[in-house]
């Protein structure tokens, strides 16, 4: 079982995230980055599948030099090897271009049975790359899995929707995106941290993938951010201490604002 986990290096969601004023792209320089929290669940799920049977987990990322940290974390958790696609021309790529680069990298890795991703990144939060990637690779996709089992050549997931809980199957090779409900990602052990230092990480450029630089980056994006603006801070309203009448005061506020 050859599994590729796609991961993203993102600005820390706990930090003050912002944009580059020069080109309206996400500021990835002045905010500390890390492996997107939602991708840890994808790494964990891939490791569990391989540990229960056999195979290999390759962790794949597209990003600048600092994105090597995301691969390192996944290798420390237990992934076998890494692939880092890094090329200055990729800066400013939209989801469409990112999915193209990921698809070509997965083709180059070759002989992949399962592609696992998180449900969305914690920076862009669009959640569309998994479907775009599946479309480009011609793979069936089973998404938002809160449970995954792989038996023989069939992947089965459980998806908890608003109206129903569904069981969905797909024949391998397939792509699966997982939610934060599927498992509890492990912390890297000391042994894992030491072992990760010796694990191979391939460095690929666009040329290595046969992707024309004109197909990616900010200028090739199919959407354009025209402007951005910080949301004005909310001004704090009235705070009352409950002295036995807090509920009445709350009801009075809601009535005055015509919510009742």
């Amino acid at each position: 079982m050859n599994i590729v986990v796609c991961v993203k290096y993102v600005p820390d969601a706990q930090a003050e995230r912002t944009f580059n004023a020069s080109d309206n792209t996400t500021d990835r320089e002045n905010v500390d980055g890390l492996l997107s929290e939602l991708d840890e669940y994808a790494v964990e799920e891939a490791l569990k599948i391989v540990e229960a049977g056999e195979g290999e987990v390759t962790v794949l990322t597209v990003g600048p030099d600092a994105a090597a940290d995301a691969i390192k974390k996944a290798l420390q958790m237990g992934a076998d090897k890494g692939v880092h696609v890094n090329d200055d021309a990729i800066h400013g790529s939209d989801a469409i271009a990112t999915s193209l680069v990921l698809a070509e990298a997965i083709k180059k890795i070759g002989d992949v049975d399962l592609v696992v991703t998180g449900m969305a990144s914690t920076d862009g939060t669009m959640g569309v790359v998994p479907a775009m990637l599946a479309e480009r690779l011609g793979l069936p996709a089973v998404t938002f899995a809160s449970e995954l089992t792989v038996e023989g050549t069939t992947a089965t997931i459980r998806r908890d929707g608003d109206a129903s809980t569904q069981t969905i199957t797909a024949t391998l090779p397939a792509l699966v995106s997982v939610t934060d409900q599927i498992n509890e990602p492990r912390y890297p052990s000391f042994k894992g941290i030491m072992a990760a230092k010796k694990k191979p990480v391939e460095q690929w450029s666009l040329a290595d993938l046969g992707v024309d630089a004109a197909q990616v980056g900010l200028d090739a994006a199919w959407t354009k951010v025209e402007s951005f603006a910080a949301r004005p801070p909310r001004s704090q309203g009235e705070i009352v201490a409950d002295e036995g009448d807090g509920g009445s005061k709350l009801a009075a506020f809601l009535t005055e604002r015509k919510f009742v």
């Binding site: 938002f144 908890d160 797909a170 909310r234 704090q236 705070i239 009352v240």
Partner: protein
């Protein structure tokens, strides 16, 4: 005027409010054409006409729905090719975004998700300008689509539905999903028990409970019901197993933007704020007067929710009688 395709979100013909919002937005961009997939067309037709659908393209084949999103993406790609629409609008739900993602690749078109407003660019280009709320609601971004047919996934509550009679001329589309579209299949679907409350992302009022409930959501639910509100939960409450994940409000759950949001026993960590801080009016009840949620509120009560909520529920219920 060019058509604007709107993918109808419905359950067995019962059209969801998001669709009437999309039809209203579509009228700003061109002539609304609804795309209806699945059973229940007769029930849906009246609603679609009432909110201005001039045309309705429909496919009733059950196999389109049992294979999830790919057949719907193929159907929309076929319609984009045959009608050259000004834009395609879909609900910004997980399913809608997945359909939009595949459609964008198939039609080589730019995609914008999670739009909270969509307008014509007004420069005569026929383009669309969108507004999104990003980085946990701390920034607002204006964007345009620069390639292909603009595909926009629009969040609930992004427009006030306007009733304008449409011709609703329906046309059965000759469509067969490809074999490749059948790679994934729903083998079982267990409906959830209906709560009778509004859907979280569509509700005008949301009342959420967190760690402060200690696992007892009864007072939160009673208060929500007095207001006709949806019930949400913080990640802490969901992780503790007190409330289902589908009710989680926050970065890794639902992002809501109701007229009124009431946070009960929720401290207001960034994870939670990401899901609710674009709400119009925010109210909090929390025992800790230093809880960060109070920085956001229009009105706050420092107190025990088990005392405050029942008193408020009683006052609201009495006011209604």
């Amino acid at each position: 005027m060019a058509e604007v395709l709107v993918l109808v979100d419905h359950v067995e013909g019962k059209v969801r409010k998001t669709t009437s919002e999309l039809l209203t937005i579509a009228r700003r961009l061109g002539e609304p054409s609804a795309v209806f997939v699945g059973p229940g067309f007769d029930a849906a037709k009246e609603t679609l006409a009432r909110f201005g659908a001039e045309k309705i393209y429909r496919v009733e084949s059950p196999e389109v729905l049992e294979h999830l999103v790919v057949p719907q993406a193929e159907l929309l790609a076929q319609l984009v090719s045959s009608t050259s629409p000004a834009a395609v609008l879909v609900p910004s739900s997980p399913e809608g975004k997945e359909i939009a993602a595949r459609l964008a690749v198939k039609t080589e078109s730019g995609l914008i998700t999670d739009a909270v407003d969509v307008q014509a660019t007004g420069d005569g280009s026929g383009g669309v300008a969108t507004t999104q709320s990003v980085f946990a609601g701390s920034y607002t971004v204006s964007a345009t689509v620069t390639k292909g047919t603009p595909i926009v996934a629009v969040k609930p509550n992004s427009a006030t539905p306007e009733e304008v009679a449409g011709a609703a001329a329906d046309e059965v589309v000759d469509f067969t999903p490809s074999d490749a579209a059948k790679g994934a299949k729903i083998t079982e679907s267990k409906p959830k028990q209906a709560t009778g409350r509004p859907e979280l992302t569509e509700a005008a009022i949301v009342v959420s409970g967190g760690r402060g409930t200690g696992g007892d959501f009864s007072k939160v639910e009673d208060f929500a019901d007095s207001l006709g509100a949806a019930v949400g939960a913080s990640r802490a409450a969901v992780d503790a197993g007190w409330y289902p994940h589908t009710s989680q409000v926050g970065q890794t759950g639902k992002q809501v933007s109701p007229q009124l949001y009431v946070a009960c026993g929720i401290s207001g960590a960034i994870q939670h704020r990401a899901g609710m801080q674009t709400s119009k009016t925010i109210v909090a009840v929390n025992k800790d007067n230093e809880a960060p949620i109070f920085e956001l509120v229009d009105f706050g009560v420092v107190g025990d929710l088990f005392n405050v909520l029942p008193q408020a529920t009683e006052a609201i219920t009495a006011a209604k009688d």
